[in-house]
């Protein structure tokens, strides 16, 4: 993966498959502490202790089309290659929290990448899921809670062209402001 945002997109798909109805993506960039932390929290079906122990292994997957799953191993490696850390907490019936910490200034840290595009794709593809996206860069913060947007929209879909364009701009502007 070329971007941390692509890992996030990938890991969130696991939450979707776990039938989560609420997914939080929280990114915190702290230049003083030299850390970039990504927390992905869902209320999906969770994993048993036994499965959780094996989930880092590439030859563990719930997929039936093939016998390997590389999403989590790749993400873990990307974090650890930057002197960071990786952790998964999960409880059956409650949900899962995946935390990756990256060394902020480490030469091998991937750029965060197009997180606005990533969230836009997720919001519009999985409208039935509520997403909280929070991105902090030092003191600045940008946050989108799709339950708020849905309250405004009622039964009008995110995929309605004007809504989609609005959402696309809204996310882009929010991200741009963080990086100014």
């Amino acid at each position: 993966m070329r971007e941390i945002a692509l890992h996030i997109l990938d890991i969130v798909q696991n939450s979707i498959v776990a039938n989560a109805t609420r997914i939080e993506v929280i990114i915190t960039e702290e230049s003083d502490a030299d850390k970039l932390t990504v927390v992905i929290r869902d209320n999906g079906c969770g994993m048993s202790k036994e499965f959780l122990e094996k989930v880092i292994d590439p030859f563990t997957t719930k997929r039936t089309t093939r016998k390997v799953g590389l999403g989590i191993p790749l993400y873990k490696m990307a974090a650890e290659n930057t002197g960071g850390s990786f952790d998964i907490q999960s409880e059956e019936g409650k949900g899962t929290v995946v935390t990756a910490v990256f060394g902020y200034s480490h030469i091998d840290r991937q750029p965060l990448g197009d997180i606005a595009g990533t969230m836009l794709g997720l919001f519009t593809s999985y409208e039935e899921v509520d997403f909280l996206f929070r991105h902090k860069v030092n003191e600045k913060k940008f946050e989108v809670d799709t339950t708020q947007l849905k309250n405004v929209l009622g039964d009008v879909s995110f995929q309605v062209p004007e809504v989609y364009m609005w959402l696309s701009e809204y996310l882009k502007e929010g991200e741009e402001e963080l990086n100014q």
Binding site: M1, L6, D10, R63, G121, Y126, V156, S157, E162, W166
Partner: protein, 121 residues
């Protein structure tokens, strides 16, 4: 800066028109978005499809993501399902091809044979 008030205005405008996406007659476009698809560039492909659909104001098209379709070496994969027709699977799609698939297949009703899995295999 975009505001929620602006979104509300858009909603009021859109509310009158029936949301065609939710009925069975909608064209479905599905993008493979597992580790394999994402690594091969599925996210910009999905964005290109959404943008083309929005630009052309195609209200009867629903775009969604799915997991691994099973032929990872041919990712990014896009499936187009037109009601009453056989599903068409496009392989090794990039944003340019994706826009072409929307305009040719969905708008003009002509399958872009050269990008299909049949042509690649």
């Amino acid at each position: 800066m975009k505001s929620l008030a602006e979104l509300e205005a858009i909603r009021n405008k859109a509310k009158g028109s029936v949301n065609l996406r939710k009925d069975d007659h909608a064209v479905r476009v599905v993008v493979g978005m597992a580790t394999c698809g994402i690594a091969a560039g599925a996210r910009p492909v999905m964005a290109a499809i959404m943008e083309e659909v929005a630009k052309r104001n195609l209200e009867h098209v629903a775009v969604t993501q799915t997991g691994c379709i099973g032929v990872c070496r041919l990712e990014p994969i896009v499936e187009v399902m037109v009601p009453g027709e056989e599903k068409v699977t496009y392989v090794k799609v990039d944003p340019k091809k994706a826009a072409e698939i929307v305009s040719e297949h969905i708008v003009n009703g002509r399958i872009v044979t050269k990008y299909t899995i049949g042509a690649a295999e």
